[in-house]
């Protein structure tokens, strides 16, 4: 009986031999560690003294938090960590909220009660991602300059919203498409209003997908450098610009730069770790399902 009910096990592509399987597992571990190594090394360097970092690679050293306190200290005239972090935080937060506010109704119109020609509209959204940002950067710069928006957070909020919107619509559509039509029909028959359907039927099913989509938008907006450095060189700079400014033209800066990089990178790396599974399903299924 137990034999009969055992589900067919997923078999890997490469060999079934025990020894081969163990070797492959070992290989996978080695490759995984190698891929992670640069980041591990960066983190290690962040805890070194400048003298230790600026020498031939050292694994044993006396760890110190000094670099972290140095780079987060603010000095007049320079962009400080607190400022950059605050700017990034608000820009990313507001643009992500805007993206979701615009994308959720759009995804609804593409998936749950599809409008006519929804496929064309979805294509239009994706196709805007094919337009390289250099195709629009000069007018955007001129418009921002004429509206006195150069060096403000507003201009980055607007542009990051536009940058992430197509991706969000694309992913959310696939999550909304997973809601069984029968469930919605049943709710309708039971006399459930539209807000009620949204709250009680649709949202519980798509909520994890919404979270993953929002996180992906956060990652892309947080990491964005080109627009930040071109449109916002002084006033309201973000974390990537701050990291870039830690590169000094004289003296030793490697350990300090590493500490700054760790501070700038890990918030979104951790966010990505949390959302990894759903994020990729949304990306891939956007096309497949």
């Amino acid at each position: 009986m137990a034999l009969l009910t055992r589900a067919p096990k997923a078999e890997p592509i490469l060999g079934q031999n025990r020894v081969v399987a163990n070797l492959l597992a070992l290989l996978t571990w080695v490759v995984g560690l190698l891929f992670f190594f640069p980041l591990f090394w960066l983190t290690l360097n962040g805890f070194k003294s400048e003298a230790d970092a600026n020498s031939s690679p050292k694994i044993l050293f006396e760890p110190t938090f000094d670099r972290f306190s140095e780079v987060t200290e603010s000095s007049t005239g320079l962009l400080s960590f607190t400022e950059a972090f605050g700017n990034s935080f608000w820009i990313v937060l507001i643009s992500t909220v805007l993206v979701m506010t615009l994308a959720i109704p759009a995804a609804y119109a593409l998936a749950i009660r599809p409008m006519r020609k929804w496929r064309d509209v979805l294509f239009f959204f994706i196709s805007t991602k094919f337009l390289p940002i250099v195709g629009a950067i000069m007018p955007l710069w001129i418009i921002a300059r004429d509206l006195d928006l150069l060096g403000t957070r507003t201009v980055l909020v607007v542009l990051y919203t536009a940058m992430n919107l197509p991706l969000a619509v694309w992913m959310l559509r696939s999550f909304f498409a997973e809601v069984p039509k029968e469930l919605i029909e049943a709710a309708q028959i039971d006399g459930c209003s539209l807000p009620g359907q949204l709250r009680q039927v649709i949202m519980p099913i798509v909520a994890p997908g919404l979270a993953a989509t929002a996180l992906l938008c956060v990652i892309f907006a947080w990491n964005e450098f080109f627009l930040a450095v071109q449109l916002n060189p002084t006033g309201a700079s973000t974390m990537p610009v701050w990291v870039n400014s830690q590169q000094k033209f004289q003296g030793q800066f490697l350990a300090g730069l590493s500490a700054a990089s760790v501070l700038a990178t890990f918030p979104v790396v951790i966010a990505g770790w949390v959302a990894q599974k759903r994020m990729i399903r949304g990306l891939a299924m956007g096309a497949i399902k």
Partner: protein, 315 residues
């Protein structure tokens, strides 16, 4: 007479139905309009400006000494005419092509191999997957710095430290092989992305089909070639498409790894340099932008055809 009345009644009923249908159509369209309008205003309209700028000779750093205004004479297609005579433009275009093709291709190959390795049960599978996707999450500016100063560097770089153990002399990779250096970092960041997409494809396979093939005596390689690969194809195509969209626009890595040095400036970098980055030649740089956009549209058309095949059975 009575017939006419019936006809009219029917007509009005048909009109009523049409009116309701139209109202329903608008009701369905309404939720998408804010997103649609926002996207058009922010992404499409500036592009039309670029098109217009590209037909002018416009240097924002050369105002008329008397009026203080910046002249913007209309010169038609002249900017485009001089494009191919511009060696720097040709170089940047060639770098763009090489960089995009190499980065997409290698990421796809490495990503697929990683996915195949990961697609099996072993101790710590989830942990290793997390290690492997991390490069994709790293801020590009940081990725560039990290590789340049701590991996490639001839004095403090880990890679040089390793090859010196084997008796090779130190090499300043980022200066000596700028293009290859940038591509290495891009592949490091994008193979995890490809891996995840291919993994989604591998794990979506119908296990009973694989089981049947195995019972029929198919070899592992045969199964991969005849069953798995055809099923993976749409995922590989999707990875190529999404990867190309992003990789054609690479800027951050070049700025950080190569900076002002020649050797690995792609078109987006060159355009920014010639216009808002201090070159101030808005007219000319706009014509470069238009060329990039046209090239992208060609790629996009191929890509969209692929996508529409993918969406076909989903209506």
């Amino acid at each position: 007479m009575s017939n006419a009345v019936v006809d009219r009644e029917q007509e009005s009923r048909v009109a009523e139905v049409k009116r309701l249908e139209r109202r329903e159509g608008w009701k369905r369209r309404l939720p998408i309009l804010p997103a649609l309008l926002f996207t058009i205003v922010v992404t499409q309209i500036p592009f039309l400006f670029t098109l217009f700028y590209s037909l002018t000779e416009w240097r924002i750093d050369k105002p008329d000494p008397e009026t203080g205004e910046v002249p913007r004479p209309f010169i038609g297609g002249e900017n485009y005419g001089s494009l191919w005579g511009d060696k720097f433009f040709r170089d940047a275009a060639w770098v763009s092509v090489q960089m995009t093709v190499m980065a997409v291709l290698f990421s796809l190959i490495v990503g697929t191999l990683l996915a195949i390795l990961l697609d099996r049960k072993f101790f710590g599978q989830g942990f290793v997957r997390t290690l492997l996707i991390t490069p994709f999450l790293v801020m590009p500016v940081v990725a560039g710095f990290m590789w340049k100063t701590q991996m490639f560097s001839s004095t403090f770089g880990v890679i040089n430290w390793v090859i010196e153990l084997f008796g090779f002399g130190p090499t300043e990779f980022a200066t000596k092989y700028p293009l290859a250096s940038v591509v290495v970092v891009l592949v490091w960041q994008w193979s995890p992305f490809m891996m995840l997409i291919v993994l989604a494809g591998l794990q979506g396979q119908d296990q009973s089909v694989l089981e049947a093939a195995r019972v029929d005596g198919a070899t592992s390689f045969g199964i991969f070639r005849q069953i798995t690969f055809p099923q993976l194809r749409p995922f590989l195509e999707l990875g190529t498409l999404l990867g190309a969209i992003y990789l054609i626009q690479v800027y951050d890595h070049i700025e950080v790894i190569v900076g002002g040095q020649p050797g690995a400036k792609n078109l987006p970098f060159y355009i920014a340099q010639r216009s808002i980055g201090g070159g101030n030649r808005f007219g000319l740089a706009s014509s470069y932008s238009i060329i990039v956009v046209i090239a992208s549209i060609i790629i996009a058309n191929i890509g969209l055809r692929v996508l529409s095949n993918l969406l076909e059975d989903d209506s």
